[in-house]
Symmetry: C2
Subunit: 294 residues, 2 copies
């Protein structure tokens, strides 16, 4: 709703590629044009302002920037300096930023920096989060937005026309969740770190796979181009299907996010117990070894 | 989502006035133009095809018709012949019909006729209902659509981009509700009929109020023009506010639905126990009597 509200027909809005696919589809739905900025493996999939400046060169209706940190699907996080640079850039160009920080509690090295730390955030930031990640209230479909009053009032009108309101019982559950704070989450974060480490370790052992040790969210984004080539898969979609049907393991092909930036990558979710992560990736490894005759 | 999906920019879509206000706002959001057809007290607020033909005369992009029977806010219902006439009309003009039948179990005289009874419904009908009325699962925010496969597939894509899915626990609750059937509802319908009768009886006793005995939904739509005039209220919005703050009774002004058709009317909801209905309308009556010095 935020993106649909802020994007006017003809607006150009910068979106990271890869990224959560709904950003792109909503920009198009609102009549805007997504402008993709590639997140590169050699930069650990962190957004670089130089790359944004490159893609918007010559464009005259660039109005917004959709950020997501920690990042789905790559597991990258933006540091303090990255964020300060993005803030300066957005202010200079008079752009809004939609900052989707729903994975904010899932940071394994360093800490999370929020765009709300800018004292001027009301001028241009809409912060998005929800109860699906930290609280695992995924199936309850409840999230929240922080923005200046004017935007909230418009979102209220929008929400009334879309779904009236989130389900009443889950609004109460969300309030209860907020009252608990997030201190209890610390040991879950440790567990997620162990999962991340296990997934990283196992993926590193798969022949032809190269993987960055992502610092946030619960995803790794291994480069599987060599595997695809070695097993004769046309692309990662075909590779993901073969691994699914032949080895019984689900990896999302990077091209689901939503375009070119994910070509050659898998998204590996490690939101499950360590032993299942190891078992799954081992099965993938065995499948690869078998195919290439190792 | 259905209206947003079916309305293309520039399309004209016929909407009853008064009607649930979201129909209008979604047509406009999708770039269409609502064409209002007045429901008249002298026809017991039932849609007449002659009135539709009148308002679309000279228009060339009339593409759809939003129907709601039993009707919010007037409590009117369409009979078998009404529906057959609307069906013939829509087919002749090649229009889609979105038929919102969410109050289908709330019919006190006669029976509910659905647009799905047309064997050709797949060609042009989208039927809308939900669990908020019969099952009182209002706060759970779950509804459903019946349409041909092609439309359902597009609605799935739309839903994925809007809210992923309805909350999982309430999908299970909805399945359970469907398994129960609606036999149990009979005694609730009798209770609602008693409420309707009580509301009608009490409203008939209020000086200056004229009221049609609606046959469906749980609303009556009394004409309060004389009351407004007698107490010096500029319009029903002002009248509703005064009754709220001075007598402590909430009536929705007819102008909330969403335009001219409700001018001079109140929507009275009778979804509460008989004694509270009587008490509330009596307070309204006492307030009127007091104001006009009866």
């Amino acid at each position: 709703m935020t993106i649909a509200l802020l994007t006017r027909p003809g607006d150009e809005v910068v979106v990271q590629d890869p990224s959560f696919p709904v950003y792109e589809s909503v920009i198009r739905f609102a009549g805007g044009r997504p402008v993709f900025v590639r997140l590169r493996e050699e930069n650990e999939f962190r957004l670089r302002i130089e790359d944004v400046e490159d893609v918007i060169k010559g464009l005259h209706r660039v109005r917004g920037l959709i950020i997501n940190t920690p990042h789905n699907p790559t597991g990258s996080i933006l540091g303090k300096e990255d964020i300060e640079e993005i803030i300066r850039f957005a202010k200079r160009r008079n752009m809004f930023i939609v900052s989707d920080e729903i994975y904010e509690d899932f940071v394994y090295e360093g800490k999370h920096y929020s765009f709300l730390q800018d004292p001027d955030w009301r001028d241009y930031i809409v912060y998005i989060s929800g109860f699906s990640k930290t609280w695992s209230m995924t199936g309850l479909r409840i999230g929240y937005v922080i923005a200046r009053e004017e935007i909230i009032k418009k979102l209220e009108v929008f929400a009334t026309n879309v779904y009236s309101c989130p389900p009443a019982p889950f609004q109460l559950a969300a309030i209860k969740a907020l009252e608990l704070g997030t201190k209890w989450f610390e040991r879950y974060l440790d567990e997620y770190r162990r999962r991340r480490d296990a997934a990283y370790e196992e993926l590193s052992k798969v022949p032809g796979v190269r993987v960055i040790k992502g610092r946030g969210a619960f995803y790794l984004f291994p480069n599987v181009k060599e595997v695809a080539r070695a097993v004769g898969a046309r692309d990662v979609d075909e590779l993901a299907k073969r691994v699914l049907f032949e080895a019984g393991i689900v990896f999302l092909p990077g091209t689901a996010f939503p375009l070119r930036g994910g070509e050659g990558y898998f998204r590996v979710s490690y939101a499950l117990p360590v032993e299942r992560i190891r078992e799954g990736i081992k099965r993938f490894r065995d499948w690869v070894k078998d195919k290439v005759g190792l």
